[in-house]
């Protein structure tokens, strides 16, 4: 088991930190766009190991957080319909909509069931043929192939009462939008498990069009420090490119089969992101070939007008222009037990990660 401890090895950590200090001269800001990275960075206290000229900021990497309030409101509206069962991943039910949460609707009698996989939702549809079973599809390229597989399975097995409400998103448009908006950035730590599916070609625009480096990173302290070293080396050599640090898991071409699932079921359409607004070609929408399973087409519903919260700055935090500690409600009115905004609900949200690991 020698290998395991290597990724935590104090000596190796010290060597990497020393190397980073030696190489890095310019002041730089790197953004991580993966909730898992946010958790690791806060938990292992990575920022405290880095020299003052390197700043780490969290971006829009938490799937629950980037799902816009309109999506939550529509899910709530679905849950209020007769003969509908909502199936969802657990985190989503506590995210505040404009006037309610799925959790509150459940307490008021709505049939809302937490599932671990889309396959569980299919099973529920199979044994409740008289009901419409709507699955709330959130997540990036890592999660979306499973929803696609669910839709294909529903078709093959003739499960006609299963519907996907897709809020699945692709990561690169958000990464590019932040640079376009002028967020002060010098490189990206790219998400390990998204890249497992997509491979690295999706990031090519970022060095070629914007001149910023991208390093696909693993989740251990040594991985993150190694990735930071790779980014500062690119910067000091003036050589921005896409590199994989997490070679143990991520292949340049990704998982081709999973990509085929995505292509089969989804096309890219405009989509709403919390904090970022509408981004062109950033959302995975169900293709017309599968529209009989598309909740948005098959289950008409009236959705209340969106009301934004006063006080919650989750949107700005997702853009990397504010920090959870800049929020007046942080750790006071807003805690994981009583979350005011989406960024405090999910374990991968920045506010939640700061609350857990970096409150002082």
């Amino acid at each position: 088991m020698k290998h395991i401890d290597e990724y935590r090895d104090r000596e190796l950590v010290d060597r990497l930190v020393g190397q980073i200090r030696k190489v890095s001269k310019k002041p730089v800001s790197f953004m991580e766009v993966c909730g898992g990275h946010t958790m690791s960075i806060q938990k292992f206290g990575i920022p405290s190991l880095l020299p003052d000229n390197i700043r780490l900021i969290s971006g829009p990497g938490c799937p629950v957080c980037v799902s816009d309030r309109k999506f939550i409101d529509q899910a709530i509206a679905y849950s209020r319909l007769e003969n509908v069962i909502i199936t969802t991943y657990g985190d989503l039910i506590r995210v505040p909509g404009s006037t309610s949460t799925l959790d509150q609707e459940k307490a008021n009698g709505a049939d809302i069931r937490i599932v671990y996989s889309v396959l569980d939702a299919l099973q529920i549809a199979k044994v409740n043929r008289a009901k419409k079973v709507i699955f709330l599809g959130i997540g990036f390229e890592t999660t979306a192939p499973s929803s696609a597989a669910g839709v294909m399975k529903a078709q093959m097995a003739g499960i006609r009462n299963f519907y996907l409400f897709s809020s699945h998103k692709v990561m690169p448009p958000a990464m590019e939008a932040l640079i376009d908006e002028g967020v002060n950035l010098n490189g990206y730590l790219a998400p390990g498990h998204v890249s497992t599916i997509t491979g690295t070609s999706i990031y090519e625009n970022i060095p070629s069009k914007y001149g910023l480096g991208v390093v696909v990173s693993g989740f251990e302290p040594v991985d993150l420090l190694h990735s930071i070293l790779m980014l500062v080396t690119q910067i000091e050599n003036n050589d921005p490119k896409v590199e994989i640090q997490y070679t143990r898991v991520v292949k340049p071409e990704g998982n081709i089969k999973a990509q085929q699932f995505l292509d089969e079921v989804f096309y890219l359409g405009d989509d709403w992101w919390r904090g970022l607004g509408v981004l062109p070609k950033s959302g995975m929408k169900v293709k017309t070939e599968y529209e009989t399973f598309d909740a948005e087409k098959q289950v008409p519903v009236e959705v209340e007008p969106t009301r934004e919260d006063k006080g919650c700055i989750c949107g700005d935090i997702l853009k990397g222009i504010k920090n959870p500690k800049d929020c007046k409600l942080f750790a006071k009115a807003c805690t994981p037990q009583n979350p005011v905004g989406a960024c405090m609900v999910s374990h991968e949200g920045s506010c939640h990660a700061y609350y857990r690991y970096n409150r002082e």
Partner: protein, 83 residues
């Protein structure tokens, strides 16, 4: 939810496998991977195996995953007590 867990394949039936994470058992669809065998380690994400792992990588990631889980559980309990 976006976290992916390393798991060991215990048995396979058609495109479904029974996998174990520590002591816990889960069902995993193998639709997205070729040539998975009993004894292999995979990365499990929302009920689907999305990548093969070598054993060392799997054990190491499992350690991180467990730490997060334990820490989160502890803190959940603490918060419940203080609430």
């Amino acid at each position: 939810m976006c976290l992916s867990i390393p798991a060991k394949v215990e048995s396979i039936e058609g495109e479904m496998a029974l996998v174990s994470v520590g002591g816990a058992k889960y069902n995993a669809s193998l639709q997205m991977l070729d040539d998975v065998k009993v004894g292999d380690y995979i990365l499990l994400h929302t009920g689907f195996a999305i990548q093969k792992l070598d054993e060392e990588e799997a054990l190491e990631s499992l350690k991180t995953f467990k730490e997060f889980e334990e820490l989160n559980r502890e803190m959940d309990e603490e918060e419940k007590k203080s609430a």
